[in-house]
């Protein structure tokens, strides 16, 4: 090293903002951290875009084939492709939250963050914003590619699309927060939940088929899942050209409950982590 540190006359040179209950600047700091990460890692960006693109390509050909062999698909071209894209919105928004949290654990940065002024609620908000950014970056190429490739535009769903997207993102956020809570509580051994937990509800959500295809008792369960209302709503718009008001209201209410529950679970586990010293022993 040689010579020792350079003395800089820095006394009283640092101006800090007054402590606040919630700070958008701290949220921005954490979002910035993940934007830096994505900007510096082409592999992460490519992976984000690759899977949705591959999904759309496969299901696009599948839809084209079925359009000639199935009345149901022929009646509303794009019903399968639309479902694939909307499901990916849910899947990617879940992954966006969970991966943002996992990145902190993988880089062993959670210790620094938890002794910084960052509050848990700000961590949650930053993860949701990152999920939005990741989902847009990952899905936009796939959605846009489907237009010239299969002559299907997700935007043909019209204004209800905004409600579909919002609802599915909220469901994804809720599942992602639950995953983050489980990983915080049980360590990186539980990281695969980021990919598999959300798949557990897929068969019940009626993504590719109407809920009437399920046994009666399973339909009763499925109606408690917010995405079921969204996919039923999507088919109502495509087949009947009617705005599914009731489905949307129920979906929104169920999502509000799911999001509040997931947020509460995450904050509770964050507290438990402070009791059990989990921030000191991050790992498998």
């Amino acid at each position: 090293m040689g010579g020792g540190p350079v003395t800089v006359p820095a006394a009283a040179s640092v101006t800090l903002a007054a402590p606040s209950l919630f700070s958008w600047r701290r949220v921005y700091a954490l979002v910035l951290r993940h934007v830096y990460l994505l900007r510096g890692s082409w592999a992460r960006l490519a992976e984000m875009i690759y899977w949705p693109l591959l999904n759309v390509v496969i299901w696009g050909f599948f839809s084209q084939f079925f359009a000639g062999h199935s009345d149901w698909v022929a009646r509303a071209s794009g019903v399968l492709l639309g479902a694939v894209m909307l499901w990916d919105v849910l899947f990617r928004s879940n992954l966006g939250v969970a991966l943002s949290f996992l990145e902190e654990m993988w880089s062993r940065n959670l210790g620094h963050l938890s002794v910084s002024p960052l509050r848990p609620i700000e961590l949650v908000v930053a993860m949701l914003i990152m999920s939005l950014i990741r989902s847009v970056l990952g899905l936009a190429p796939a959605i846009l590619l489907a237009i010239p490739l299969y002559h299907y535009s997700l935007f043909s769903l019209g204004p209800p699309l905004l409600l579909f997207l919002f609802n599915l993102m909220v469901t994804g956020w809720a599942v992602g927060l639950a995953v983050a809570a489980l990983v915080l509580r049980y360590g990186l051994g539980a990281e695969s939940l980021a990919w598999v937990l959300v798949l557990g509800i897929a068969p019940l959500c009626g993504i590719y088929y109407p809920l009437s295809a399920l046994p009666d008792w399973l339909q009763a369960v499925a109606w408690f899942l917010p995405p079921s209302h969204i996919f039923e709503g999507m088919r109502t718009v495509m087949f009947d050209h009617v705005f599914p008001l009731q489905e949307m209201v129920i979906g929104l209410l169920e999502n509000a409950i799911a999001m509040l529950a997931a947020g509460a679970v995450f904050l509770r586990v964050y507290h438990v982590a402070r009791v059990k010293g989990l921030f000191l022993s991050m790992g498998e």
Partner: protein, 248 residues
């Protein structure tokens, strides 16, 4: 009246049947440098973690910079910072990006200016654009130190600050602490195994064993009390339960 940066009263941390910290009380005067000394498993890191608020005590009170750490942690954290070789900064971010993120987290008014200042102070100019994961141990320590001093903390807590550093770099790091304290009057609390470091830097030493504070005092006072020549000998006396023999 003495002004205390840290006041700890009957602090206990229990994990099930294991008593990690066993009813300790101590104070750290403002502007002093105090060491938590002890062998592995003595309870130093557990105590430090409770002082930082990332670990909740089973019982007891912690007052940091005049605030109750259990109820007003977020009022204190902007005025405190922490460094440990066992907690990393994100490897893929460059040094500058890491410092920028933490400058925003600590709500520093002019982050770019402050980063330039700490970069000058810790000779990071050539490292700013390099990923944090590609630095040597010594370089990482300098970056961690720059991060820890970004907000110019009134209280700096350090967990084994010179672990795994070569003697030259370790000496440089100690000089940085002394320089920082001289300029700002900050309080330093460090957990350490390094007796040379403790003798050189600290005004006061709290010696922990099995979760308890078994002795405390200025390094020279402890050396005299145990009739030894160095803190290392004092440490060994205590670690091997020879303190009474030595004291007699």
């Amino acid at each position: 009246m003495t002004d205390y940066a840290i006041q700890v009263d009957h602090l206990v941390k229990r994990y099930g049947e294991v008593l990690a910290v066993d009813d300790i009380s101590f104070t750290v005067p403002s502007g002093s440098t105090t060491a938590l000394l002890g062998g592995n498993g003595a309870g130093k890191t557990t105590t430090l973690s409770m002082l930082l608020g990332i670990l909740l005590p089973s019982s007891g009170q912690i007052c940091v910079l005049g605030e109750d750490m259990l109820t007003h942690r977020h009022r204190v954290l902007p005025r405190v910072n922490f460094s440990s070789p066992y907690v990393d900064l994100p490897h893929r971010l460059t040094v500058r990006e890491n410092l920028m993120v933490y400058a925003h987290l600590y709500a520093i008014a002019r982050p770019a200016e402050r980063i330039a200042q700490v970069a000058r102070q810790f000779d990071l100019g050539d490292l700013l654009m390099r990923p944090a994961g590609k630095l040597s141990s010594g370089q990482k320590t300098r970056v961690a130190l720059a991060k820890a001093l970004l907000n110019e903390p009134e209280l700096l807590m350090l967990d084994e600050p010179t672990a795994s550093l070569d003697p030259d770099t370790a000496d440089w790091v100690r000089s940085s602490f002394q320089d920082y304290q001289r300029r700002t009057g900050a309080t330093l609390l460090l957990a350490s195994h390094n007796m040379t470091e403790v003798e050189r830097l600290c005004d006061d030493v709290l010696i922990m064993k099995k979760g308890k504070i078994v002795d405390h005092g200025a390094p020279q006072l402890l050396i005299d009390r145990y009739g030894r020549n160095t803190m290392e000998e004092v440490f060994l006396d205590i670690a091997r339960d020879r303190q009474w023999v030595a004291a007699q």
